[in-house]
Every structure is written in structure tokens, then in C-alpha cells.
Amino acid sequence: MSYILVVDDSPTIRTSVEFTIKEFGFPIKQAENGAEALDTINEFKGKGEDLALVVIDVNMPVMDGISFLKEFKKTDRFTPVLILTTESEGAKIKEGKDAGAAGWMIKPFKPENLKDVVMKLIQ
């Protein structure tokens, strides 16, 4: 079964997101930053596991969410990436859209809204 990858440097946010979307039944994996997310994706690709969705923050050490997106989209144009961040500036949102994000969700997130968005993106 394909999995959902949750990427945030905050363990609290990663756990909150996991609690919110685990009812969809997808296995959920976590990463702390963009670089770790790319490593995780490559590791599981090697094991034949498909990726259904990435939910990722913007401001993270090592590799931020936008840099991840630019790198990820070089090899995977189809798997949706949802940005979940406190960033709400128009220029930043446009940067995310141009880099290939499927959606932009501003924290704090309402659990029902996150479930709706995830449902739409994984269908």
C-alpha cells in the first residue's frame, strides 16, 4: 500500500498531522526536514513502496520545504505535495505554486480541513 510522508521539524506538528489523517488507512512515515524526506522517499522507492502524498512545512533546518519541492519535482511530477506552514505571504505561496505544490495550508490547521484536503489530493 502506498504511504503518506509528513515532513516537519516539529515533532508536535508531525504527531498532530499523523493523528488527524491516519483514519484514511495509509501507512504514515515522518521526516524532520526536506533532505531527510528525499532520503526516506528514495529508501522506500528501493523497497517498491509507492508514495501517495507529501505534507511538508516550509521553514526547516538543513533543507526547507520549497527546496525539497524543487528537488522532488525533478523526478516525480505526479505525487501531490501539500505545504502546511505558518507562512502566509503571497510571494511565498506563489513560490510554492510555481515549484509544483498541489496546495498550501496555513497553520493552525483545522483537522476537518486537513482531512478534506488530503482526501481530495489522494483520490
Binding site: 521539524d9 516539529s10 508536535t12 498532530s16 498550501w104 496555513i106 497553520k107 493552525p108
Partner: protein
């Protein structure tokens, strides 16, 4: 927030008003006054970057804890805004330590003592454990206001207890406005934009 100069050292001094947050990798002071709110000072001990922000949790947190609680989500978000600024400057959560001050209760306050002692303290306890950020100082409670100066490049905090309310009357008014705003907006969540 206003920028001024600390008279003793000549360093830049950034005075935060309730609800503000600020982080710096350059030697300066960040200062404010708190009553019922909590002031959180975070410091990256490796990269010598620090920041200060305000925290108030707008209600009681449910028994399931902070991960599934929409009231707690508001507190988490206030912390995320400060943490985001620190990360932009190059800080890493793994190196952070915290010093926290405030959560005082006042006879004239509309917030009950029970609310302060349970919601704020419960959130702080659960949140910092979850984030694995060690709390080096927690100077919370009491019935007095605290004036806090934070030096973000060495993590030092200077605290003064304010016994005279006239000294901080502007902050008292602004803190009440901030608390009311957070409580009013406790059911407000971020927008969602779908690009495809």
C-alpha cells in the same frame, strides 16, 4: 515592537508588545513585560541564536492532550511563529533550550486562577516535552508582573519583578487586548488553497 537603545550597554533593544515575537543572531536585547501571558525565550546553544515570544492558550485543553486539541493548536501556532523566525536565522530545534516566565494571576483579572494553573501550565509541560526542548528556567505563577530582558546571542535572561502597576500600565492594557483577541479567535484556523 519598537526598536530603541539600552541605556547601560548601548546595544539595540527590541521592545515586544504582547503578541509580538522576535529572533536575532546579532548581539542585542529583546525586552518585554508580562502578567498573565507567558514569555518564552528560546536559545540555540550551538549557533547562538535566540528569540522571544508571547504565549497564551485560549481555554482548557481536553483530556486527549495537545495533539488532538484545537485550543492547544492555537498555542502551538504561537510557538511555531517564533520557531519559524529562529529557523530562518539558522537555528535548529535540536539545539534549543527554553526559559519561560509569567502566567501570573491577579485578583482583578477576569481569568480564573484555576484556568491559569491548569491550561497554561499543562500546555507548557506537554508542549516542551513533545518538542524535546529542555526548560532551564520556569518562573511561573505568583501575583506580580515581570519585566524580562533577553540577550539572544548568549541566552541570558534578566528578570525584574514589578510591584508598581503604573510602571507597566501600557503593557497591562495591551496584554488584556492580546488575551481577548486570542480568546475571540480561538476557533479561527488558517486558509487552504488548492492549486490543482
Amino acid at each position: 515592537m519598537i526598536k530603541t537603545k539600552d541605556m547601560k550597554t548601548g546595544r539595540d533593544l527590541f521592545i515586544l508588545y504582547p503578541g509580538d515575537y522576535y529572533a536575532s543572531a546579532i548581539q542585542c536585547f529583546i525586552g518585554s513585560v508580562t502578567g498573565s501571558c507567558v514569555i518564552v525565550c528560546l536559545y540555540d546553544t550551538i549557533r547562538r541564536i535566540g528569540g522571544m515570544g508571547f504565549l497564551i492558550v485560549p481555554g482548557a485543553i481536553g483530556t486527549e492532550g495537545i495533539y488532538r486539541d484545537q485550543i492547544a493548536a492555537q498555542g502551538i501556532n504561537q510557538m511555531e511563529l517564533l520557531l519559524g523566525e529562529l529557523v530562518k536565522l539558522g537555528a535548529d530545534r535540536k539545539n534549543l533550550t527554553a526559559k519561560i516566565f509569567g502566567a501570573a494571576t491577579f485578583r482583578e483579572s477576569r481569568l480564573s486562577r484555576e484556568f491559569i494553573s491548569t491550561s497554561q501550565l499543562r500546555f507548557i509541560d506537554q508542549y516542551f516535552k513533545s518538542e524535546k526542548i529542555p526548560v532551564y528556567v520556569d518562573d511561573l505563577g505568583g501575583d506580580y508582573r515581570r519585566k524580562i530582558y533577553f540577550s539572544p546571542t548568549d541566552g541570558k535572561v534578566y528578570r525584574k519583578v514589578l510591584s508598581n502597576n503604573d510602571e507597566s500600565s501600557e503593557f497591562i492594557k495591551m496584554e488584556l487586548e492580546f488575551i481577548n483577541r486570542i480568546f475571540r479567535n480561538k476557533d479561527t484556523f488558517g486558509d487552504v488553497i488548492l492549486f490543482e
